[in-house]
Symmetry: C2
Subunit: 238 residues, 2 copies
């Protein structure tokens, strides 16, 4: 049993359970049971529960932000080469695509994204401040770029619209969870019932299966990105 193995086991288990239950409703004993290690291991390897959360977030946010910054820089460089302002659509795409693509890269990533959504909704904490420290460069550049793209928009309105976009993305990433509101909304609605009815008739799949997916994600991470970007771009330019 080596240190890298134990730490990774704990981080993976924590990611999964924290994403599903949130920080306060997840105990160290649950995490360590999931990881198959002793509860003292958390304090030995990470120091505290909060530090564990910090580590869970940090190991993922760094590569995700690299992807985001790269894409954003690419959009800006492209616009500069053409002597034009960056397009709002391209900017929102740089904002949305890395997150949703990352989310669909695996179960762990999916949990992580859900965890970020949760963490952003918590009261201020050391972890949240840490999260913002990582996000700062991207947010600065993103807002600056949006200002260039939409120069006629007041600062307050630009910020509000960006904020609404952040909210939308944060919420969209919560789709990771089967408890998600969309599934329940669909279940409540006549529209949902009709869709289920169609699937039943057409595909022979059990009537419950399609109800879990807002979009056919088997081939449409890109499609989801497009639809979210469409919505946001229209809203930013409204």
């Amino acid at each position: 049993m080596n240190r890298v193995g134990t730490q990774k086991k704990i981080l993976d288990a924590a990611e999964k359970l924290l994403a599903h239950n949130g920080y306060h409703a997840t105990t160290l004993r649950a995490i360590t049971a999931e990881a198959g290690v002793n509860v003292a291991a958390v304090n030995y390897h990470f120091g505290s529960k909060e530090a564990l959360l910090d580590n869970v977030i940090e190991r993922r946010i760094v590569p995700l932000n690299s992807a985001r910054m790269e894409m954003l820089e690419s959009v800006r460089a492209d616009a500069l080469t053409r002597g034009r302002r960056p397009s709002v659509r391209d900017l929102m795409h740089a904002f949305v695509a890395p997150t949703i693509s990352f989310r669909d890269s695996g179960k762990g990533a999916r949990n992580f994204i859900a965890l970020v959504g949760r963490t952003l909704g918590e009261p201020p904490s050391a972890v949240q401040h840490s999260f913002f420290r990582f996000m700062e460069p991207f947010i600065k550049l993103m807002l600056g770029s949006l200002k260039e793209a939409l120069p006629e928009l007041s600062d307050d309105l630009l910020l509000l619209r960006f904020h609404l976009s952040v909210g939308m993305l944060v919420y969209t990433i919560r789709m990771a969870d089967e408890s998600d509101i969309l599934g329940q909304t669909r279940a409540l609605s006549d529209i949902g019932n009709k869709t289920i009815g169609k699937s039943k008739g057409g595909s022979g799949v059990g009537s419950k299966a399609p109800a879990k997916r807002p979009v056919d994600t088997a081939n449409t991470t890109e499609k989801l990105v497009d639809e979210v970007v469409n919505f946001m771009t229209a809203g930013m330019e409204a």
Copy 2:
């Protein structure tokens, strides 16, 4: 000390603390200390912690939903009278306005709205199911109305866009909390710094004050509603 007084005290205190800290991080002893009553009172009057949360939500959701349904029915009646489809803008307004207006009707209401946002983000629970039971009639009618307003939109896309709008509203209502992301986003950005700079020069108000408000809410609940509705309408019609 009569029963109505004690119950109300507990409900108000719970609303406040649950909104700020979430269910799992709020203890009954904290609530009862805030309410100035004994911890046993919770179990005496409400039966359990979870039942308390249920009561906190129920006492507010019923009137809020009445307002929403009334507004939505009005939009539909108006369209019917004119022999037209309901407009997306009017529908989104009926969705957004009661919530944001209610939020700005007082500190308690503000806390309640924040609490709803939190509750929607929790794992499935009896309270969440209860919440959906209350929301069901509105959601059904809303989706049906949107279908009428946007008949060329596929069911999946309609549902996705509604879902994104729900997410946006849920997130917007989180602005109740000073820990809110927008405040921090602004603090991080150059745009934010400029705005602060302007306020300092122009109004004589301490430089910290404007940083807490995305929009001048002293006179602009209506303005915020308009901006959110603008964004959503553009997105729904994209």
